[in-house]
Each structure stands twice: as structure tokens, then as C-alpha cells.
């Protein structure tokens, strides 16, 4: 009787869940599968009813393309710097915001941090582009007003990556701060008090007591940031278009350019490589963070 009840309950559950599961498969997995399939076809026949399959030739082509290899290196380097910078700043900013010293004004800072996250990214990046303009940009106007030299912004090879890193940080960091703040709110205060009684210094307390308890937030933020920055696209489209030269020609943008040139096979091969890299790195990071003893 009990078994029958359980089966019945499960059946109802599966019946209700089935449409959503089906939708997830159709809407989520099907496009990915199609994209991977396209990466094995000749670009000129990719959209035809009988595409010509060319095996791994698109993959061989992109791995022999120096622009793609440079693009892959630029993407990885940018991601590494962006993840570290964003999470470090978000962590210490969240620590500052959760401090009891700031009990009254904290909401204002939180609001200011989070507003960019809910701002449409294109609109935000257009404003950044204007601010970086060497003709009428606010940033150079401010620098000049205090007697400092011009910032090259997005027009200089030396500063273009920094410029979009700053713009992206403005957009993303608020999200990471919110995740950290949620974790900070759950910290066990008795551990802090015990550390204080043991005369542990700030850094020792931070490293041995606070940081281990922030493991959930760090894991979520790192994985999210990794995915976000490996896929960096909108900021490039809006502000730099891959330039100057190929300084910000990250994989997503390069694949998009290939797609725009009707090179569907190579474009989807690039997208598939990026997808694989994201999956491996994100899974590896998750596995490592679960396995590691943080104390």
C-alpha cells in the first residue's frame, strides 16, 4: 500500500516535471547539439538540407590559424586577470559592507554596487565608450583637470584591455559582492570571538577563520566569473570591436566575426572549443573547491 502510494506520488511528480524536462532538452541541449554538429560540416553547405561533413577539418583549420591561437591566449589571459581582480575586489568590498562600522550607510553602498548589474549591459558599455573617447571623453577631461596625462583608453594597444577590464568590473562586481554578502551574513560569529580571544591578528583570522567559511560563495563566484569572462563578448562588440588591431579579439568575438563572414563551420568549431574549455575548467574548479580542505 505504502509502495503504491510512493509510486503514485512519483508518477504524478514525473508527469508534472516531464514537460519542463522536455523543454529543457529541446531549448537547452538541442541548439548546443546542432552547433556541435555544424562544426563538422563544410561552411558553404552548413545551412543546406544535405550538409557535407568534413570530419575534423574545421578544428584542424582553427588550430592552424594564428589569429585563433592568439585569440585563445588573449581570452585565457584576460579571464585569469578578470576573475582574480573581480573576486578580490568583491571580497574585500563585501567585507567592508558587512562590517559593523558601516551599519547605517551600508544600503547606499550596496545599492550603488548592484545598480550596474541590473543596467542593460549595452547601454552601460556605450557610456563607457563615450567616457573613454579621446575626443570628448570624461575620463581624459578629469585627468587633464588634475594635471595628469591622457589615458589611452580603447584607442591604445597598451591600455585597451585595461579599459574593458574596468568597464566589465563595473558591470559584474556588484553581483559577486551580493553573493559574498549573503555568505558573510551566515558566518559563525562565535568562531570570530574565539579567534579574538586567542589574539589572532586580522590576516590570520581572515585566512584561518573567515575564508574557509566563505567557501560556498567563493566557489559560486569563481565558476560564474570564469564562465562570464571566458565568454566576454558584449563589451568587445560595443567598445572595441576586437581592436585596436587584435588586442581584444577574444574567442567569442572572433567566432562571431567568422559567423558574420558565413564561415559557419569554423565559427561553430571555435564555439565548441570554447564550450569544452568552459566545461572542463568550471568542472575542475568545482571539483577542486569541494575536495580541498579550506581550513
Amino acid at each position: 500500500m505504502l509502495a503504491q502510494f510512493k509510486l503514485g506520488k512519483s508518477t504524478v511528480f514525473y508527469l508534472f516535471a516531464a514537460p519542463f524536462a522536455l523543454l529543457t532538452i529541446v531549448m537547452g541541449l538541442w541548439p548546443i547539439a546542432l552547433s556541435i554538429q555544424t562544426s563538422f560540416t563544410d561552411s558553404y553547405t552548413a545551412l543546406s538540407p544535405d550538409p557535407v561533413y568534413v570530419g575534423l577539418s574545421n578544428y584542424i583549420k582553427i588550430f592552424n590559424d594564428p589569429v585563433f591561437l592568439k585569440s585563445a591566449w588573449l581570452t585565457l589571459r584576460y579571464t585569469l586577470i578578470a576573475v582574480l581582480l573581480n573576486l578580490t575586489i568583491a571580497l574585500f568590498y563585501a567585507m567592508f559592507l558587512s562590517s559593523s562600522v558601516l551599519s547605517r550607510g551600508a544600503w547606499l553602498f550596496k545599492l550603488c554596487c548592484f545598480l550596474p548589474v541590473v543596467t542593460p549591459d549595452v547601454a552601460g558599455f556605450i557610456v563607457w565608450k563615450w567616457m573613454y573617447s579621446s575626443d570628448f571623453g570624461a575620463i581624459n577631461a578629469m585627468l587633464n583637470a588634475i594635471g595628469l596625462p591622457d589615458f589611452g583608453g580603447v584607442s591604445s594597444v597598451q591600455t585597451a584591455t585595461i579599459a574593458i577590464l574596468i568597464a566589465e568590473m563595473w558591470y559584474h562586481v556588484g553581483f559577486y559582492i551580493v553573493i559574498f554578502l549573503a555568505n558573510f551574513a551566515m558566518l559563525d560569529k562565535s568562531l570570530d570571538e574565539a579567534a579574538m580571544m586567542d589574539n589572532a591578528g586580522f590576516w590570520r583570522k581572515f585566512y584561518k577563520v573567515t575564508l574557509p567559511q566563505l567557501r560556498p560563495a567563493i566557489t559560486i563566484n569563481m565558476i560564474y566569473a570564469l564562465i562570464q569572462f571566458l565568454k566576454t563578448f558584449t563589451v568587445v562588440v560595443v567598445i572595441t570591436k576586437g581592436g585596436p588591431g587584435t588586442t581584444t579579439n577574444f574567442i567569442s568575438y572572433y567566432a562571431y566575426r567568422q559567423f558574420d563572414q558565413a564561415q559557419y563551420g569554423t565559427a561553430t568549431a571555435m564555439a565548441t572549443v570554447l564550450f569544452a574549455v568552459i566545461m572542463v575548467l568550471a568542472s575542475g574548479l568545482y571539483w577542486y573547491s569541494q575536495r580541498r580542505d579550506w581550513r
Binding site: Y44, V154, G243, T247, Q261
Partner: protein
């Protein structure tokens, strides 16, 4: 019984309506101006083809490609597609289902206004893939008031252009008291944008090929070509005549520079003039002419940068009617509507009233015209070769050379190697 009769009559009436009413669907990328043009043509076409309506749908260019290719390949094609010749070539290459209009064109009487060059541009792999409908002319524009302010005339040569451009940078031609003006507005963000600018320099100077000639010879290190290419690269890197942000500028940013009154010299397409004549934009404060002459003895020109035309998919739902409409697009009425709404046409043998001096410049051309060479119609490997050329140029703009001459020689050698590899 009465009810049955009524239902029968209704069904018959519905069938009759369905049978006589036909809708032709056209896909293009001309935006609102294009939609207005097709609406006007639809009105006129209906007079001789009662019950036929023409519905046009405008897509952003990149979506137009994908949608056209996918629809034609899956037998859900529109009746007609409309775009630049080189874009239709891409559709031909990816579908193989664009109707050869050679016979159709051969049977048309009133086509004397089309030049051999126009017809050549419409032909790919010995098939006429489009009926040419609009020449895309691009001239050299200069702010009239700025020329007056610096006491100069419309520049004829490249040396004149450099001199005037420097004055535009240094002499505050807009009189606002700020050093915020540039000599030229260009763009370089996307490789295709950059090569487009080089095409204007090259064909405007009267040369015939930007990169490769019909025999497959790389041309960029031939003396005249090299001279133009080096000056082009120096415009971006050494002369200080363009905004430093130009290397990240694409079309929208280039237009912001022009329409924001920050550059004195710029490309003027025939489709730009209508807007730039209005108060909201340049208010007609610009003059149009041929591109500057770089080479002694070579005639400089306004550039025909493309040919827009209409193509008919072989699997169009209303194939015969679609061909009829394509032919109609070369009629005086359709061409007049084209000039009025889009600013371009291939014929001018009709009354043109109310057009500004600048619009007449393109509508009834009296200047030298030099058309792009469209190497993709001769060399199937050209798109890949051009992509490589683009990449080289984009890289070098941020790495200025001391010896441009040696750089171009080496670049030409690399292009030859690439060409040879692609030809294998």
C-alpha cells in the same frame, strides 16, 4: 437548400479571391527607406497586375544572409531577394538556387541605360544572378563652411587634401574656440570597414584593383598602388588628421564624427545625401566631388562601390510573377521611386524635380565613375585572401612602420604565398 446555396456561393467567392490575390514577398536590408520604396512600387505594379501586392521585409544585413540562405535551402524562400551583388554571390555559393536571369534580361527592350560594366557586375559564373537596380556611388564630401573658414578650394590632389585637412585640424574651422575638429572621418574597427576605406582611396584615384587583378597578380606593390596604400596607412598612423579613436570606429561611430561636426572631409554615399541635406543633420553644408588624385595622369573618380540588384530564388513561391516584378524594377516609375526613397538608381532618363544640387550630383552623374572590380566574381578564393589582407592591415595600424615601402613589399610577398596556398 438556401443555406447550402449561400455556403456554396460564399466558398466560390472566397476561392475566386484567393485565386486572384497574390502576394510577392521581398527580403532586403534597406530599412524604412527601402520599405517605403517597395510600397510605392507595389502601388504602381498593381495597376498592371491587379490583385498583386508586394510586401517587403527589411533585415539587418547579417540576418539577411542567414535567413535568405536558410530559407532558400529549406524551400521556404521569399519570392525575391534584394541586396548588393557581392552579398547575393554568397547566397548563390551557399544555395546554388538563384535563377539565371540571362534570358529574362536578353528579352528586355528598355535596358540601354545599363553599361557593360553594370551588366558585368551582375554576372557570376556566366550567369546573371541579379538585375542591376541601383548603383552605389560614393563621392568625396567636404564641409562648405569649413572650406570658406580656412580659405581653401575643393582639393583636387592628395597633396591638396593633406594641406586642407591640416588646416581643419589646426585652424578651428567651426569657430567654437576648441581644438575638436579633424581633417577626415574614416573607420577601421572591422576589417571589412577598413578595406572599404582603402577601396575608396584606390578606385577614387583611378586604379582598377585593390589587391589582386583578374589574372591573379597581387597588385599592392605595383608603384601606383603602393603609393596609394602607403598614404592610406599614413592617414591612420602618422598624419594626425583623423580622430585617435578611428581604429575602433565602425560605421555608426564614423557617422557620429561626420554628423557631430567633428570632421571636415568624409565619404558621401548617394544614400547619405537625403538625410544630410536636412536641418537635423549637416543642413546641406557640404560639397561633393571626386576622390583626390594621387597619381599624375590618372583620372580620379567617384567610386561605384557596388551594385544593388534583385535576385529570384529558383524555388520562389510565385516564380513567374517574381521575374515580372524584377523586370518592373527597371521601369521609369520604379527607378524614380528608387531615387526618391533610397537615393540611387541605374537610370536617370526621367523628370527629376525638387532634388538638391547634391542629390542631382549622383542622380545625373557628369563626373568620372570608377567601379569596384569585384574580384570574388573571378577568383573563388578571394574572400579568404581578402580576410588575410584585412588582418594584416588591422594589425599594422597599431604598429606603425619606419619603412612603409619595405613593409608593403613584404606584405605583397605574403599575399602571394597565401594566394598560391588557396589556389592549390
Amino acid at each position: 437548400m438556401k443555406l447550402n446555396a449561400l455556403m456554396g456561393a460564399t466558398a466560390l467567392a472566397l476561392c475566386t479571391t484567393t485565386a486572384s490575390a497574390q502576394e510577392l514577398v521581398v527580403w532586403h536590408d534597406l530599412g524604412d527607406n527601402g520599405i517605403a520604396w517597395f510600397d510605392k512600387m507595389s502601388e504602381v505594379f498593381q495597376k498592371t497586375n491587379p490583385g498583386v501586392t508586394v510586401t517587403s521585409v527589411s533585415f539587418p544585413t547579417d540576418q539577411w544572409y542567414g535567413k535568405s540562405i536558410a530559407a532558400i535551402n529549406t524551400n521556404t524562400a521569399p519570392d525575391l531577394i534584394y541586396n548588393n551583388y557581392e552579398r547575393v554571390i554568397r547566397v548563390v555559393n551557399q544555395t546554388g538556387k538563384i535563377k539565371d536571369l540571362t534570358e529574362t534580361f536578353g528579352a528586355m527592350d528598355d535596358v540601354g541605360f545599363l553599361t557593360e560594366s553594370d551588366i558585368g557586375v551582375a554576372t557570376y559564373n556566366d550567369e546573371m544572378i541579379i538585375l542591376p537596380v541601383q548603383r552605389v556611388q560614393m563621392g568625396f564630401g567636404i564641409r562648405d563652411s569649413w572650406l570658406d573658414a580656412v580659405g581653401e578650394e575643393f582639393p583636387e590632389t592628395w597633396e591638396d587634401t593633406i594641406r586642407v585637412a591640416k588646416k581643419f585640424v589646426e585652424e578651428d574651422p567651426d569657430g567654437n574656440g576648441r581644438a575638436d575638429t579633424y581633417g577626415l572621418a574614416l573607420q577601421a574597427a572591422n576589417p571589412r570597414d577598413l578595406i572599404h576605406m582603402l577601396d575608396l582611396y584606390t578606385f577614387g584615384a583611378g586604379l582598377r584593383h585593390t589587391l589582386i587583378d583578374p589574372d591573379g597578380e597581387i597588385t599592392i606593390d605595383q608603384p601606383d598602388h603602393k603609393a596609394v596604400l602607403i598614404e592610406f596607412l599614413k592617414t591612420f598612423t602618422e598624419y594626425g588628421l583623423v580622430s585617435p579613436d578611428t581604429i575602433t570606429h565602425s560605421f555608426p561611430e564614423m557617422y557620429q564624427v561626420i554628423e557631430g561636426n567633428r570632421a571636415g572631409m568624409f565619404r558621401v554615399g548617394d544614400w547619405n545625401v537625403k538625410k544630410w541635406d536636412t536641418e537635423e543633420s549637416l543642413n546641406g553644408d557640404f560639397r561633393i566631388g571626386e576622390w583626390p588624385a594621387h597619381i599624375n595622369g590618372t583620372e580620379n573618380a567617384v567610386v561605384i562601390g557596388g551594385m544593388r540588384g534583385v535576385a529570384v530564388p529558383e524555388n520562389a513561391p510565385n516564380l513567374d510573377l517574381a521575374v515580372e516584378f524584377a523586370k518592373f524594377m527597371l521601369s521609369k516609375e520604379a527607378q524614380a521611386a528608387s531615387l526618391q526613397n533610397v537615393g540611387a538608381a541605374v537610370r536617370g532618363d526621367f523628370e527629376i524635380e525638387g532634388l538638391s544640387e547634391r542629390r542631382l550630383y549622383f542622380a545625373q552623374p557628369k563626373h568620372t565613375l570608377n567601379a569596384y572590380d569585384f574580384p570574388e566574381s573571378v577568383h573563388s578564393f578571394y574572400p579568404e585572401l581578402e580576410a588575410e589582407f584585412h588582418r594584416e592591415l588591422v594589425e599594422i595600424l597599431v604598429d606603425p612602420q619606419d619603412d612603409w615601402d619595405a613593409y608593403v613589399e613584404e606584405l605583397a610577398d605574403r599575399m602571394r604565398e597565401k594566394r598560391d596556398a588557396l589556389m592549390q
